[in-house]
């Protein structure tokens, strides 16, 4: 039987696994239209965007939601837990190449927000619109040494309780308690080593000296009740990118896509506004 279609290296157009950097990566791909890449937070997975995707698809986007290496359904990175956001950024650009995506928009939160800024510095000419949520260009206040210490089990008792209660502390007051507990319960699915490595990466990554290369449309978003991100740093990042838009959300914490009802409609509006700039 001759094989005339579906060679092994065909461009994936549907949800599934792709081989990338020596491991299988899980990527959800839904809809048709301009591509928008959605980037999850530290230790979490694409499941954080499950309620965002349908509205973005309805708004005419092709939504690409990868699980970063070691997260969700993606295999671990062959070199071990990633502690450099630059590694993720390069991985994401290679993933888009593999998917034959030339131009794209990107929405990310927390480390995904910082990755969005990094991609916008690295590949501005390929990006139609970038929405960086809870992400700042500078190093945040988090101590890298403290996170490295946390990587040792002996310093990490009660991790599940701390992730659960810490997530409850990180969402805004507008989110009903039952939904906040759902978010916290799902965040507890993390691999603590991967999450903490992500936070090491978050604490040491600084793109301030590359912001002059950021020429694509950019929207910076942060919740006013975000316990992790100092809104003054977000404002400083906005000030360093003169064409950037800035939105501070009342009643919202660190996870706008898991806190704001019908967030996909909001995201689609932001992306549309940016591409019309």
């Amino acid at each position: 039987m001759s094989t005339t279609t579906s060679p092994a290296r065909a461009v994936p157009t549907t949800t599934g696994y792709v081989e990338l950097h020596g491991a299988l990566a899980f990527v959800e791909i839904v809809g048709s239209g301009p591509t928008v890449l959605l980037l999850h937070t530290a230790g979490q997975s694409g499941v954080q965007w499950r309620r965002t995707t349908p509205d973005l698809v309805a708004a005419g986007y092709r939504v690409v939601v990868p699980d970063l290496p070691g997260h969700g359904r993606s295999e671990p990175h062959p070199d071990g837990p990633v502690d450099d956001l630059g590694t993720y950024a390069a991985w994401l650009l290679d993933l888009l190449d593999l998917l034959a995506v030339e131009r794209f928009s990107v929405v990310g939160c927390s480390i995904g927000g910082k990755l969005t800024l990094d991609l916008a510095c690295r590949a501005s000419d390929r990006i139609d619109a970038a929405v960086a949520m809870a992400g700042v260009a500078q190093r945040p206040g988090l101590s890298e040494a403290g996170q490295r210490r946390e990587l040792e089990d002996s310093a990490s008792p009660s991790r599940a309780d701390r992730t659960y209660l810490g997530t409850l502390a990180s969402v805004g007051s507008a989110l009903p308690e039952a939904e906040a507990r759902l978010v916290a319960t799902m965040h507890r699915r993390e691999d603590p080593v991967v999450s903490t490595s992500d936070l090491v990466a978050w604490s040491r990554h600084d793109v301030t000296d590359r912001l002059d290369r950021l020429t694509c449309p950019l929207h910076l978003v942060a919740g006013r009740e975000d316990y992790w991100v100092d809104t003054r740093l977000v404002e400083a990042t906005a000030a360093a990118v003169p064409h950037a838009r800035l939105t501070l959300l009342d009643g919202v914490g660190h996870y706008p896509m898991e806190e704001i009802p019908r967030f996909g409609e909001t995201a689609a509006r932001w992306l549309d506004d940016l591409t019309r700039q």
């Binding site: 002996s154 310093a155 990490s156 008792p157 009660s158 309780d161 701390r162 209660l165 810490g166 409850l168 502390a169 007051s173 316990y227």
Partner: protein
């Protein structure tokens, strides 16, 4: 008038020790701090530093214009407090002034004071008691320009006993808390493999809960081996944690309002137990509705 006056409270000026509850709040009227006030204060105090009286000199400082003396803000706060007419006939003495100057007051600024009661405790002698008054002096744009504590001694109506549900860090409060925790199966489960003592400090008050295998064995100011770890916070932080809408210990810890000392590993290990303990303290505080 203040916007959170207590209906059914005692007549103006006649608030006694028993009328005060931790968590009560008042907002005073607003007043302007004028250039004449600053000039008068310079004359009265003898502090005629050019920062307060010389426009040309003040222009060379970080403030740009002459600013009010810090203690003028304390004096203004005292006056605004008087306007509330709480303890006119019952006050015995002002006991102290602990104060921080956070932002300048410029002539023409309008300020008001916000009063929070953070402690009520009878003196040993019995006929008087200390009311801890935590104050913020706030500008018309909402900026807290000064803050501090002005505890005072007031007369008591009776001889007690007094409620302890909000007497954070005292032994009496610790005993009530231990009684609540005795019925708390989640707390017993969270501490079922533990042997140690937790210190709970509110300002200068401190108490330890000695815990063994899920049971609080003893409540005491001191235990033989000392606390395994201790939580420390100001009376304002305890008051807001105990009476606020949610248990936001993590946020308050992140802001440095709550700190810990002692064995950090055991503190982290007991994350859930400490949260349940704070839940119990919040439920307890809620039982003392004035």
């Amino acid at each position: 008038m203040n916007d959170r006056s207590y209906t059914g409270g005692p007549p103006a000026g006649e608030w006694h020790l028993e009328d005060f509850r931790v968590g009560q709040r008042w907002t005073t009227v607003e007043r302007e701090v004028t250039a004449a006030d600053v000039a008068d204060f310079a004359r009265l105090s003898g502090d005629t530093h050019p920062l307060h009286v010389d426009e040309e000199y003040a222009a060379s400082t970080r403030f740009g214009v002459p600013i009010a003396h810090g203690p003028l803000g304390v004096a203004v706060t005292m006056g605004l407090l008087h306007e509330l007419h709480l303890v006119d006939t019952t006050i015995v003495a002002l006991l102290g002034t602990t104060w921080r100057y956070l932002a300048p007051i410029r002539p023409g600024d309008r300020v008001h004071a916000e009063l929070l009661i953070t402690g009520v405790r009878r003196t040993r002698e019995g006929s008087t008691g200390v009311v801890d008054r935590d104050l913020r002096l706030v500008g018309s744009d909402g900026t807290v320009v000064q803050e501090g504590q002005l505890p005072c001694l007031v007369r008591a109506r009776g001889a007690g006993p007094d409620p302890a549900e909000r007497a954070f860090g005292t032994t009496a409060w610790g005993e009530l808390l231990a009684r609540s925790l005795a019925d708390d199966r989640a707390f017993a489960s969270a501490t079922a493999t533990w042997d140690g003592a937790i210190g709970l400090h509110c300002g200068e008050q401190g108490v330890q809960l000695r815990i063994y295998r899920g049971t609080v064995l003893e409540v005491a100011r001191r235990t033989p081996s000392g606390p395994t770890f201790a939580l420390h916070a100001s009376p304002r932080a305890w008051t807001e944690l105990a009476l606020g809408p949610t248990n936001d210990l993590i946020q308050r810890s992140g802001r440095g309002e709550f700190t810990m000392s002692g064995n950090a590993y055991e503190y982290l290990r007991l994350t859930k137990a400490v949260h349940l303990l704070v839940d119990a303290a919040r439920a307890l505080a809620g039982k003392d509705a004035a």
